[in-house]
Symmetry: C2
Subunit: 183 residues, 2 copies
């Protein structure tokens, strides 16, 4: 698996990677324990501050680490990591460390305690802004973004349910049809 040279990325532009709806890996840490989970129920909620929302089931082992630490990292895997993505989603953090099990590298984040997944194309460090326990919904402020310099448009994986994925496909620009203020 590749690792990536990453750069700081403008927080107001992270929608480029998150709005298309990719599966992400959520990393968390609390009192010496760390975990990883696969997650596809998420959306952008704001540009400045950069807000991001996601659903996390309370039965997930990560739920407790995330709720207690009030921090996480959203990591963007590419198609070469698909088997790890599926494996991470199909085992529990109670069965052992998922970084070791799936050969992934935990790197220190700069603003939160949860680790970055080095092999992912991008890593978004998040601090909890609001938790809605009735809906399992967490609203995060993204406080730091690390993005690989290339490729500009990574091949992401998108989940259809029933064990089926869609890989990101052709690039199409319609820039000429946009009003300037809509870009």
């Amino acid at each position: 698996m590749r690792t990536h040279r990453k750069h700081d990325y403008p927080l107001s532009d992270i929608r480029r990677f998150l709005e298309p709806g990719p599966i992400v890996l959520v990393s968390s840490a609390w009192q010496g324990e760390r975990n990883l989970m696969t997650m596809g129920w998420h959306c952008m909620l704001g540009f400045e501050p950069a807000l991001f929302g996601c659903y996390i089931w309370e039965e997930n082992h990560s739920h407790a680490l995330i709720k207690r630490s009030r921090e996480c990292v959203i990591n963007l895997p590419t198609a070469d990591l698909l088997d790890a993505v599926v494996g991470i989603g199909n085992c529990s953090g109670t069965e052992g460390d998922k970084f070791e099990r799936f050969g992934l590298t935990a790197m220190p984040a700069s603003k939160v305690g949860a680790p970055l997944v080095e092999e992912c194309h991008a890593n978004f460090e998040c601090r909890l802004q609001k938790h809605l326990p009735d809906y399992g919904f967490f609203i995060w402020e993204v406080v730091k973004a690390h993005v690989a310099a290339s490729p500009k448009r990574p091949r992401t994986v998108h989940y259809r349910g029933e064990g089926e994925f869609m890989l990101s496909g052709p690039h199409v620009s319609r820039r000429r049809l946009f009003k300037p203020e809509m870009l």
Copy 2:
């Protein structure tokens, strides 16, 4: 533009179309007025009941219709509708009826007052369950789903910002790597 023969679809399976993160068209109606908006900030929030969340900016003309009627329809456009999708996102409902302007057909829904967009691959009728005005976030219960019989995997459009779209790409199954209870 094609129209589709559609069938009732199980509400617990709508994640197949919404979880991959496509751009959708939101239709709304209130007191004789109707509107359409383009939207990419959304996510699944539950299977049964089928819950779906989305961000709607209060400056959008649709915001008032949706907030007052407490209903909407989420319509899934395919790549052949891309220019209409962009056009709808780049004009306001205050400038005239968007169905007429973009040659789209409004069909009556069965459980809500907002119309279905006939030319879309799928239509999901929604009733408001929770509005979080501080975050512009709406949580919907999907109460009826209409889905075209084919193709099974429509070519959807996903927004990257800056006028750029990604079209849904190759299909990959990893079903064999899933635990039965995860399918």
